[in-house]
Symmetry: C2
Subunit: 247 residues, 2 copies
């Protein structure tokens, strides 16, 4: 329950360059005119966060959007009873905070660094200005939001129709793309950035159930777990998990 470090403040570091940023090309910011990249470059504020530190907190006013340079972030929502549940993850190259930014300006979630993370903040005024001068930027965010909505609705259908075990397989498959290393023997290895509690949150389940599913998965030879380390001996076995129920 106690989430490591509390300080949102973070040391300012030598700022990266927006012009050469590998991520900008692939994000909504690629729509920017050259002169506007300059605006971005000058107005962004770059910070670093240790694991457990918060980038922003639920309830705070949302005064801009964030872009992750390096690292990963957990987006958590706290319900009235005080339970924090993980609703989403964001990784390097992704923009975040735009939902609350466009919706009304108050964060409805908190963002916590899952690993050492470096983030650029672009303030409200700059975003507004860039938006005004680059209609394509707005279109980019519209596309992004539309995609997020798609994902949210899909997982709504998924949660209704699929078993927890199958959803776990989906999650492993998604994490694999980002965290897995291929070993010499053809197996995959990864270190999960998530606790069992976090996994349970994502699956809409409980830690006990997650433990039992992990146990079952090991028994069936689909994956082997030890703490946060996972070995997937045969990807096809994992793929079979999702075939069975959704095909």
């Amino acid at each position: 329950m106690a989430r490591a470090n509390d300080r949102t403040a973070a040391a300012s570091v030598p700022a990266p360059n927006c012009f050469t940023c590998q991520w900008r090309q692939r994000s909504e910011w690629c729509a920017l005119a050259r002169e506007d990249v300059l605006v971005l470059n000058e107005h962004k504020i770059t910070s670093t966060f240790e694991q457990g530190q918060f980038v922003f907190r639920q309830g705070e006013p949302c005064n801009g959007v964030y872009s992750i340079v390096i690292g990963a972030v957990a987006i958590r929502k706290t319900d009235p009873q005080g339970h924090a549940v993980l609703v989403r993850m964001r990784h390097a190259g992704e923009t975040m905070g735009y939902r609350d930014f466009f919706a009304g300006g108050v964060f409805t979630t908190s963002a916590e660094a899952l690993e050492p993370t470096r983030i650029c903040f672009i303030d409200k005024r700059s975003v507004r200005m860039l938006l005004d001068r680059n209609p394509a930027l707005g279109l980019g965010f519209l596309k992004r939001l539309a995609g997020d909505l798609q994902i949210a609705e899909d997982s709504l259908l998924m949660s209704a129709a699929l078993t927890t075990r199958t959803r776990m397989a989906h999650l492993l498959l998604a994490l694999k793309d980002r965290y897995a290393n291929a070993e010499a023997d053809g197996s995959l290895t990864m270190k999960l950035p998530l606790s069992r509690q976090d996994i349970a949150d994502i699956l809409g389940s409980r830690t006990e159930t997650v433990a039992r599913i992990i146990q079952a998965l090991e028994k069936d030879g689909v994956a082997r777990f030890s703490g946060r380390n996972v070995v997937i001996p045969d990807l096809d076995r994992l793929l079979d998990e999702i075939e069975d129920e959704s095909a």
Copy 2:
């Protein structure tokens, strides 16, 4: 399974006037400059649909957005196995189809009229033009999309934490706002626009379970059902349903 009438075609009717449209003022279209309302007024295509007719179908290219003048529409998604599930409803005054429009241009859902319905279609080129000339219009859609995402994520959390009965109460409460009439004795009456199957889809459940919940609700005096007609004798009783589990 067989969904009434199939014809998407619909008779063209005397077009309503965008300038005096009561709905425009309250929607994203309120951001339009006066001359652009003229564009809207001239380029929109208004059609009527009988109950059961489709406004658009999953898989078709999405060539614009729709605005409902009168009536109600069911948004359904068909999974690979061919099961159609109701994912959303849209009512008079609401814009629809914008998600797929901004996402990529193919409908990921089908829209079926739940009652006699009249709809204005605004084609892609006009939307693009209006978007270019009115940055505020894009902002309006961003806000709308952000709100939709909020709703989708909330119901994701809701489905994980709340019982089906509680979600049913939520649904009744939501439908009440739009369909209920207040009776002389203080009770509320409404005719549901949804089948039991549709209700089950929304709740992420089964028709049998819905029937049983209805039964339980009647036993507890929360609501009385006869076919699609519902009587809610005491709104507070219904509100208690959601308090118990979410407060």
